[in-house]
Every structure is written in C-alpha cells, then in structure tokens.
Point group: C2
Chain length 312, copies 2
C-alpha cells in the first residue's frame, strides 16, 4: 500500500483527547489543562486535542456582556501559554479559545500550535448554534472566510501540521455533513471536533439517550462518508445556569475516536476527567477509500441545490 | 404543534418494509412479493416498500450481457403487475425495477405507485457503485436529470404521493450525505432506500461487523442531519457468483426504520424474510427540527466547494 506522498502524517500517530471539567477560575482551568497535557505527552501523545472553550466555564448559558471580558486576542496571553507548552513538549496542540478579533467582534476559535510553538493555523467556528442554554449567536461571529492565500486558514480549510493536515471543526459543525466533506475534499487527514455538549437535566432518560447517540452517530458518519478518522472531545461535569432560568447543563463527556470506517477506537466515560490515548493508523484512509470509493462517485453535476437554503 | 399545511402525510403512517430472499425464477419472486404485500396490507400498512431489484437475483455479481434480458420498460409487464396490486389494496407501493429505457440504455429505477395504481413518480439511481461482486456500472446508466418540469421526477427529486413526499434513493446513494440533503431540501418527508447489500463470505467477522454498522450509521445520520425518518430495505439470503470467481454474497438483511433523531424504530433480522411494520409519527420532523435547527444554520455562502471533485 503506497503512502500518500504529499502527507507527512506518520503511519501510526498517537493522539490524546483531554476531557475535563472546568471551574469559574480561568487560571486554575489552564493549570489543570497544562498538567493533563504533560501527562498525555508522557503517555506518548504527539497530537493533543482539547475540548471546546477549555479555559472557562461554558459561559453561553446566558447572554451577558461582561462575559466578553473572557475573550483574548490571538496571539495573546492564553495563546502564549499554550504555544509554550507545545514547544516545551514538542507536541502538536489543538486548543479552543474565545477570540477577541476587534472591539465587538468575537469568535469561537481553535488555535493549532506546532511542535515549535508557532501557530500552525486557526479555525473560526463556522456554524453557530443558538438554543436555550447555548446562546452562541450572541457571543460568536461566524467564521467568515475561506481563503487559501490567508496564512491563518479560515473557513472550511484544514490546517497543515507536522503530524498531518488537520480538519479542525468545532461542536455545532459536527451536525453538518457539508463541513466534514469540505474538509475532506481539501485534504484533511483527520477530523477534529472540540466540543461542549450536554444534557438539560430536565429531559427524560430516553431523550437524553437519543441526543447522545445522535451526537456520536453524526460524527461516526462523517468518518464513514469521508474515509477519515474523527476525534471528538467533549467536556464533563455539571455547570449551573447563572440566570437561574434553567437547571444548567450536564456535559456528557463520551469523547471518542472513530476510525476510517466509523468504528469506535476509544471512548471516554460520561462523567470523569480523562486522557483518552488512541493510535491512529494513517494507512487506513487509503485502504478504506479503495473499498468504499465514495469520492469517485459523487454526483457533482447534480449537487448545486446544496447551495440553496431551501427549495420551494 | 401545527401541521405543515403543504403536506398530506397523515400524522401517523403505518409502513411495511418487505425483506425477502430471491431465486432465479422471476415469476416466483414476484408472486412471493405480492403475497408479502398482501400480508403487510392486512397488518395495516398504507405505504409498502420493497428491497432493491426484488424481482430477480442480484445479477450484478458478474458482467453478463444476457442479464439485460431481465430489464423491462416502464410502464411494462412488471410495472403493470405492481400497479395492479397497489390499486387493489389501495396502498402506496415503492418498487425497484431494472428499467430498459432504450436499447443499450438501462437504469436501476424505483417506481412508486399511487393507491389508484397510477405511477406517482420514478427515481433512477444516481450514484452507481462498482466493486468486485457489485458490477453496477456495467448495467446501470446513472440517473441523469433533475427537472421540476418533468412529470416523472428524476435526479434528487422527491415523489409526491397521497401519504407524503417520498425521498426515494437507492442503495449506494445511502453513502452520500449530499443525496439525503438534497431530498430534504426539496421537501422529502421520509427517506427510503431500497437496498441490496451483503457480505463477502470470506471477510473476517470484524470486517463484516464494521461494514454492517457503517451501513446503519450512515443512514441514521441522514435522519439526524435532516430531521427525517429513514426506511432502509435490504434483501437476505446467500446468492452465488455464477462466474465462480468469488464465494458469492451473503445479503445481510437488517432492514430498519429510523426516526427523525436517528433512533431505531424497528429492525429486521440478518437472515430471515420479514415484514417489518412500523408507525411513523409525522409530527416528529417539525418537533425535532425545532430543537435541532440545522437548516437555519447551514453555511450556504461557503458550500460551493461541494461542487468540486477534489480540491488540490
């Protein structure tokens, strides 16, 4: 099986998914994350991926202008800290930061650091959710551009790193097959979803089960449709709704890695902090795409309707 | 919860999925199918869906010009038989026929019959597979048009019937999120996949499990991404490879219905002929799309890359 000569992802890549709880203390959260990153690297991880907005509570449970104080420029203080640990440990690190791009202009941004501590690229969340308890449209401007000329890749553009071309997407993006497909078409070798998803404690056990299962299936299906491994990293723990309107969110963990046939390679618990170590076999993409040649058969001559909002 | 006023699908619809074996005797196969349809209707089914190419063996295991003799025009003898039973039993019937459109021009075509026996619409398979044992590119010209002006809906166009707008796709289509999305955008209320998929008996149990699971997950993911029920109808039984090159195919059954959150509503066995009866609650689509408003958030301004074969 020949290697894809344009790739520099090692055939076997050890990845760590860090699933954690967060408190209201940003410094404490970052310190814990750094400690977990160190442990993950000691276990052999070359690529370490963090959950969505790992430095703070999931502040989008209410619409509160003071929360914009949590945002930082990129580069900025937090970026510097994570750049430092990536460089020290010689790892590729996928972070998820609340970005202040300009006054009144904020993004939910993944920053990927190279082993030398430099920024390999960023991804600004493209699909922004908004539903009770997840008021993200208030906080996050949708990612706005897809330009190959932009050194900071934006839009649905994978990020080239020393461990491969990473298709970094964020949380709500995972419900859109279009996002996964675009990343794959643009050469992504792994899809990565930092996530913050959880249950409304008042939902029935049946509804909770359907939601969690749908979340997993959606992403496994991206692996299948695109013949790619998928990493999904979710937070755990209960976080209160400061407004008191709802019963808060029970973040459901279950961070997982799926292989190129959608098979589960590793899966974390529902309620514990964990470092999930998983080996990704890069040759599988080539092998699976040979037996499932979906890219050969896409009917691009008939897909223009996908650019419509709806067809009346 | 208000009804969608443009729809005429009853809130509760009883559907039957008919999973069967086939022999080399076309008449015998059709007679058995008719008998199963009668039983399904007695159990209350208003919409009855058949597996892919239910009137014959899965003849695509070899490339053999004499197999084109199995094809028929539409309308034609087989269409007339199925029209008759649809009319007699007052059911909507989704069939899957080998269509002769012109000399040397054949399609894998689903014909949907209305309760009065008239053809409600047809769908010619758009994505055509081709891999060892499934030499469909030899037999089937890909469906070629998507035209709202065409009374016989073609391309990714749902078919209006008295039980709702049916997004009929066929087998290999199920691996393409684009097909499901286009049907949903064009108003499909249910996705329906007549299928003929099975195992190479020489594959390992692990590989077989991955394939079957991927097949189910892919389609459940279409339900989730589009907030729609999905029906998938597969054949069962071992069929030999006449060429003797391979060990044939073990069709894996497992016909299933999934709800609008991707939850399994009913699932058939791996190896038995079955009539799977399932109730579809039409209100679920509206309810689920309110809590998972993916159509609201699609980034149609950034999806043009989906029309590319690949991005270099």
């Amino acid at each position: 099986m020949p290697n894809n000569s344009t790739s520099n992802l090692a055939d076997n890549l050890t990845v760590a998914l860090i699933q954690q709880t967060c408190s209201a203390d940003k410094k404490e959260n970052i310190a814990k994350t750094i400690e977990l990153i160190r442990q993950a690297q000691l276990q052999g991880a070359e690529l370490i991926v963090l959950q969505e907005l790992h430095s703070t509570l999931y502040f989008c449970q209410t619409e509160d202008v003071t929360k914009f104080d949590l945002a930082e420029t990129i580069p900025g203080n937090s970026a510097e800290i994570f750049a430092g640990i990536a460089k020290e440990l010689k790892i590729v690190l996928v972070t998820s930061l609340f970005e202040k791009r300009a006054p009144g202009l904020y993004h939910n941004t993944s920053v990927v650091f190279e082993k030398d501590g430099l920024i390999a690229g960023t991804y600004r969340k493209m699909h922004i959710p908004d539903d009770p308890g997840f008021y993200e449209k208030f906080y996050f401007t949708p990612g706005d551009q897809s330009s190959l000329n932009n050194p900071f890749a934006q839009g649905f553009e994978p990020i080239q790193t020393s461990v491969g071309k990473l298709g970094v997407l964020i949380c709500w993006d995972q419900w859109f097959p279009e996002a996964a497909r675009l990343m794959a078409l643009r050469g992504a070798e792994i899809l990565i979803y930092p996530t913050a998803i959880g249950w409304n404690p008042e939902d029935s056990p049946e509804e909770k089960a359907r939601q969690k299962e749908a979340w997993i299936i959606s992403q496994r299906a991206h692996a299948i449709a695109n013949g790619l491994p998928v990493l999904s990293i979710n937070r755990v723990g209960h976080e209160v709704d400061e407004s008191g309107i709802s019963k808060g969110i029970d973040f459901w963990g279950n961070s997982f890695a799926a292989g190129s046939q959608g098979e589960i390679l590793a899966q974390a618990s529902e309620n514990k902090e964990e470092i999930l170590i998983v080996n990704i076999d890069k040759k599988r993409t080539e092998e699976v795409r040979r037996i499932w040649p979906f890219f050969r058969d896409r009917r691009i001559d008939q897909y223009d309707g996908l650019l419509n909002r709806w067809s009346e």
